[in-house]
């Protein structure tokens, strides 16, 4: 099943930011969202993840098929790396965390409490969480923030492996990950036009 977004309009803080966004993401493919700051990449990803309702349009994919990773990794500082990961594995009903630890090169850190990790290591743990969700469509919001070159390569390899398994990834990022399958979608043309207020009308004040 594909992820299809049809004629989507979204708002941030009550102000429309994007309109008429349409995209299709097939299993095995990756799509990179581009656009200047404030264009609404995060809002778009959160809307597709089902965290906020769209103003208009349709999202053709059950939320049960989506794994979302935002700016914050959802880590608990006092739990160890393995405990953090095992929690998410249990929540998503998948058992094994060893593969995810290995894929993100976290094996040596498994028993360290999360508060002793560096920013990049935390980010890697946050991305390892995606692997234990067992879901096909990844929605990634700036996944490479605070990762060094080696870790970016590690992450790119994990994404490529995920695509090879029939998964798909929709990500907002500014870095070229070197993933050949990735297409790029520039969001700038979809910026919502500021509509002029209709004279005397109040209805539009509540858009």
């Amino acid at each position: 099943m594909d992820l299809t977004v049809t004629d989507l309009a979204i708002a941030r803080g009550g102000i429309p930011v994007l309109a008429h966004v349409s995209l299709t993401l097939r299993p095995g493919r990756a799509l990179v969202l581009r656009g200047p700051n404030g264009i609404g990449k995060t809002t778009l990803l959160r809307t597709i993840a089902g965290l906020q309702p769209p103003l208009a349009g349709a999202i053709g994919l059950p939320a049960e098929d989506i794994a979302y990773a935002g700016h914050a990794d959802g880590l608990k500082a006092t739990l160890s790396v393995a405990e953090n990961l095992r929690f998410w594995a249990r929540i998503f009903g998948t058992g094994d965390i060893a593969a995810a630890l290995a894929a993100m090169d976290l094996k040596g850190l498994a028993d360290r409490p999360a508060h002793s990790l560096s920013a990049g290591q935390k980010r890697r743990l946050g991305l390892a969480r995606l692997l234990v969700t067992g879901r096909r469509f990844w929605l990634l919001d700036e996944p490479t923030v605070s990762l060094d070159a080696a870790s970016v390569a590690l992450f790119a390899a994990a994404v490529r492996a995920h695509l090879a398994r029939g998964g798909a990834a929709l990500m907002a990022t500014h870095i070229d990950l070197g993933i050949a399958e990735a297409e790029v979608l520039d969001l700038t043309p979809f910026r919502a036009a500021p509509t002029a207020p209709a004279p005397g009308g109040f209805e539009e004040a509540f858009a």
């Binding site: 803080g13 009550g14 102000i15 207020p197 009308g201 209805e203 004040a205």
Partner: protein, 242 residues
């Protein structure tokens, strides 16, 4: 023609602009009529003397205090189900009016209670219930003030109003139970309406209608203000974007 037509802000503004002077005028007339009639043209009570006349403010205010909460509950439900902005803005606009009515009820009760019961305050079930109602109004308004995004605030305050209504009703009965537990046989019953003589009843009903009209008038004014404030916000947001 459906009643939901008035949920359109524009239609509401037009209709309320037309209705407002009439409602306000009628409110002033009935209020003045009821109060003057009650204060100056009714005999003193043989037992309570002239203090009985505070009834013309106390009872209508108390009725409005609870009535306003029910109106807010209905308006919140309409917002949650049908997403009409005017409805939730009316609920927001009603809250301070209801709270003021509760305060008036409590204060006039204290002023009346002093000569009658020899105390400004007693933990009578009905007094206590109004004090609790005051706290509910306070919480509802505080939540509106605290939240930046108007739609988020509308949703959360509506949910609070719903849950709060259930707990307010439970509190009402809990207080009855609790008070019986403290002083056996409540001697401070305040069921005046039941033994009010006809000579007091007619001005009292006039005053109640007057308070009701006053509430509608204040509600219309405040809802119009809220709608204008929202429109201003939207226009400013658009200005910043352009």
């Amino acid at each position: 023609m459906s009643i939901w037509e008035y949920a359109n802000p524009k239609k509401f503004m037009q209709t309320s602009a037309w209705a407002l002077p009439w409602v306000t005028g009628l409110a002033v007339l009935t209020l003045l009529g009821g109060l003057v009639w009650g204060f100056f043209f009714t005999p003193d009570d043989f037992r309570m003397g002239s203090t009985v006349k505070i009834i013309y403010i106390h009872v209508p205010a108390a009725i409005m205090a609870t009535g306003t909460w029910f109106m807010m509950l209905a308006a919140s439900l309409v917002w949650l189900i049908r997403r009409h902005h005017v409805s939730v803005l009316a609920a927001k606009a009603a809250a301070p009016v209801g709270m003021t009515m509760t305060l008036i009820g409590l204060f006039t009760g204290a002023i009346w209670g002093q000569p009658m019961w020899g105390t400004w305050w007693a933990w009578d079930p009905r007094l206590t219930a109004f004090l609790i109602l005051f706290l509910f109004y306070l919480g509802y308004m505080a939540l509106w003030e605290a939240i930046e995004n108007p739609d988020t605030a509308a949703d959360l305050t509506s949910v609070l109003c719903l849950v709060g209504s259930v707990f307010a009703v439970i509190s009402r009965y809990a207080v009855l139970f609790w008070n019986q537990g403290l002083h056996q046989g409540s001697s401070l019953s305040m069921d005046q309406e039941e033994h009010v003589a006809d000579v007091y009843a007619w001005p009292l009903w006039t005053a109640i209608v007057g308070f009701g009209l006053l509430f509608v008038s204040l509600l219309l004014i405040r809802t119009r203000t809220e709608i204008r404030a929202r429109r201003l916000r939207a226009l400013e947001a658009r200005e910043r974007m352009a």
